[in-house]
Symmetry: D2
Subunit: 231 residues, 4 copies
Amino acid sequence: MSDIISIPFILVNLKTYVESMGERAVKLAKIAEEVSSSLNVCIGLAPQIVDLSRVAESTKIPVFAQHIDPAPPGKFTGHVLPEAVKNCGAVGTMLNHSERRMRIADIEAAVARARQVGLYTVVFANNARVTAATAALEPDMVAVEPPELIGTGIPVSKAKPEVITNTIDLVKKVNPRIPVLCGAGITSGEDVSRALELGASGIAVASGVVKAKDPRSVLLEFAKAVRRAET
Amino acid sequence: MSDIISIPFILVNLKTYVESMGERAVKLAKIAEEVSSSLNVCIGLAPQIVDLSRVAESTKIPVFAQHIDPAPPGKFTGHVLPEAVKNCGAVGTMLNHSERRMRIADIEAAVARARQVGLYTVVFANNARVTAATAALEPDMVAVEPPELIGTGIPVSKAKPEVITNTIDLVKKVNPRIPVLCGAGITSGEDVSRALELGASGIAVASGVVKAKDPRSVLLEFAKAVRRAET
Amino acid sequence: MSDIISIPFILVNLKTYVESMGERAVKLAKIAEEVSSSLNVCIGLAPQIVDLSRVAESTKIPVFAQHIDPAPPGKFTGHVLPEAVKNCGAVGTMLNHSERRMRIADIEAAVARARQVGLYTVVFANNARVTAATAALEPDMVAVEPPELIGTGIPVSKAKPEVITNTIDLVKKVNPRIPVLCGAGITSGEDVSRALELGASGIAVASGVVKAKDPRSVLLEFAKAVRRAET
Amino acid sequence: MSDIISIPFILVNLKTYVESMGERAVKLAKIAEEVSSSLNVCIGLAPQIVDLSRVAESTKIPVFAQHIDPAPPGKFTGHVLPEAVKNCGAVGTMLNHSERRMRIADIEAAVARARQVGLYTVVFANNARVTAATAALEPDMVAVEPPELIGTGIPVSKAKPEVITNTIDLVKKVNPRIPVLCGAGITSGEDVSRALELGASGIAVASGVVKAKDPRSVLLEFAKAVRRAET
C-alpha cells in the first residue's frame, strides 16, 4: 500500500473538536488538498467516524478513520467495521491513539483485518518501548506521541527529542521497514523540520492545525518544512 | 421530543452486517420509509456510525446512531461525539446495546449529553431489573433484549413473555412515563402483535429484517401488526 | 443480612494507599474494632483485595471487598470471585466505586452473585440520578460520592448538601428500603453529623482516616458524631 | 531475578476454579512444593488474588499474582497494587492472560512497575505475533496460549506445534534473552516433553492440574518430563 502514502507524511487528526466537525471537516480537507497538491507533500486527514464518508467523498487526499474495531461483520452494534470504513472511501485507519487505547490482541487483530480489506494502518503509542512493540504487529506505520505533550503546543521534537530518536532506534531493531511518525505539541514548521532531522518519517498533528487561526498557513508552513528537508 | 417518535415504534438496528452496509443501508432506509409512509407507522433506522450521514441525508424517517460517547467536544480521538451525530441529521441514539455495554455513569452522562444537543435516547438492557435501573437515568425510551435470544429467531414475545411484562411493571414503578420496547428473535408480524399485546410500546429488530430474503415484506408485516394492534 | 451491618454505618475504604497496606491494614482494623466496640457504632473496613483474608482473619468488624467480578467460578484468570471473597471471611463488597466503575449489566449480575454467596453489597455512584438507578438493582445499600470532591478534604455534606438530599429523595422513589451512604471529602466529626442530619444512613471515608496523623482519634470523632445523632 | 525462576519452568494457574480456592490452593501449593523439591524442577503457582497472601505464606515455591494493575499507590479502589502483591510474599505476576487482556500501554507500565518493586513478570499472549510484541516490552518471560485450545485438553504442543516454533522464532528476533512458555490444553507428561522439544522454556497449565483427579500424579508426570528433557 506504499503507493497511497508517500514519506514524509503529515497526518492531521481532527479528533472531536467542533472546529473540525461536519462541513468544517470538508473545508479542512479542501485546504489540505490544495496545500498537498501545490507543494507535492503527502497530507492525510482523519475526521470523526461520523464524518468519514462525507470527507472521503469530497477530497483526493488520503482519508483515515480515527479507529476501527477488529470485529468481523455481524452482530457488533456500535462498532466500527473495517469493511464499512473501506467502503466509504477511506484509505486507512489510525489505531491505539492515546485517547482510544486498545488491548494488544485487538491491535494485532485490527491490523490483520485492515490488511484483509485493504486499509493502511498507523498504530499510535505513548513511548519508545510501546511503539517498538506495536511495530512487531506489522502495521504499515507507527507513531509515537508522549501523552503529556498532546495539545500543549510544547513540541515533542524540541521538548523530548530523545523520545523520537529512541523510538526510531527500537523500532528499527524490531522491524526496520516500518516508518515512524512523531506527534504531540507540533505547531510550527520548525517543529516539523526538527522532527524530520531527528529521523521521523513525518508528523501527526491535531490542535496545531484544527485550533489554528489560519489552518492553511500552518499546513503550508509544515509542507514547506517537509520540502526543505528533502533537499 | 415526542413529535419525532410516535408509539408504537419499530426500531431497525442495522448492526455491522455487510447486508446493511453503505448503499444497502440507504436502500433499506428507502424501503422503511415507504412502509412507514404507506401504513403510517413510525419506523426508525440505526445504521453503522460510518454510514450515519449518508443514510440521514437520504431519508425522512428517524435515523439513530447505534452508540454515542458521553465525551464533550475536544480531545477524544475515535469517539462518537453527540454534536457530530446531531449535525449529520440523526434524531437520536441507541445506548448500552448488549453488544456495546456501557458503564452506568457513562449511560447517565450520555443521556444528559444527548438531551443537551437534542438527540432522542433509547437505552437498551438485558433484563427487567437492569431496564428499570436505566429508566431512572431518564432516557426517552428503554428497550429490553434478553441477549440469549438475540439473532436466534426465537421471539422474546413468545419464548419469554414474562421478561416483557416484568420489565414494564418494574419500569412503571421507577418512571411511568417511559415507553418500553422489546427485542430479540423477532421475525414475524405475529411476534410484533404478541409484544404489543403484552404492553410493549414497540419493538427492536435487526437480523429479522436485515437478513430477511425480502426485508420489505417483513417490515410490511410488522407495520400491519402495529396497525391491527391500534384498532 | 441486616444483622451484619447496623445503621448508621461508617465504611472505611483503604484504597491502594501504602499507608493502609498489609500489616498496616491489620492495624487499622484493630483500631476500628476498638472504636466500634467502645462506642457501639458499626464500622466496616474495605482493604485491598490482596489483604482481604489477612484482615478478615484478624478482626470482628465487618470486612468488605473493594470490588468483585460477576463471573462464575472457572476460567476467569485475574478476576475476583465472589465465592473466594466470602470464603476468606469478608461479609460484603463495594461495587462501582468511581475508581472502579462497572457496566450496568455487570453491577446487576455482581449484586445477584453476591446475594447468592451471602455477601452484603454497597453500590457506589457519582450523582443522585445514577445512585437512584443503582437502587433499582436491589443492592443492600447505596453510596453517593461526587468524584470531584473525593480526597479533597472538602466535605460533600458541607459543599454539596443538595447531592445528599436529592440522592435520598430519588432513591426513596425507586426503593425506599435501601439505606444511602454519602462520601467524599469527609474528615471531621462535624462532616459526619452534617451528613446524618441531611438524612444519610452513614458515611464512606478513605483518605480522611488513612492519611490522618491519628486515625484512631478521627474514627473516635466520627463514632461520637454518630452517637450524638442517635440521641 | 533469574535466581527466583529456573528454566524449564512449570507455571500452574489456579484461575477462579472452586477446586483451587482458599485452603485447596494451599493444599495444591504443598503438593507442588513436594514435587518441585523431590524432582528439582521449578514449579510456580498463581492463586486467585484473594488467596495470594495465604498461599505465599504457606509455601517456598514461587507464587505469582494472576494480574497486577499499573497504577501507583493511592486512589485506585479495587485495583491490584504491585507493592501489595510484593508485600504479601509473591515473587511475580502474570500479565495479559487471555481471560484478562490488557491495553498495550498498561502492559508496558505494569512491567515497569513490577520491575520497580521487584516482581518477576510473565506476559501472556494469544499468538506468535502478539507474543513477539510483548517481548519488546521487556518482561522477564513470555507465554503463548492459543485461546481456542485453553481448557480443552487438546495440547497446543500437539495440535498447533507451529504456534510454539513461530513464537520462539519471532520472539528471538525481538529479544533473544526472553524465555518462552507455552500453554493451552496441556494435561500429560508427553505434552510437556513435546513443548520442550519444540524449544519452549516451560509450560503454563491450569485445568490440566486443577481439574485432575490426582493433581500430584499429573505434576509428577510433568516434572519427570522436564527432567528427561534435560538429560
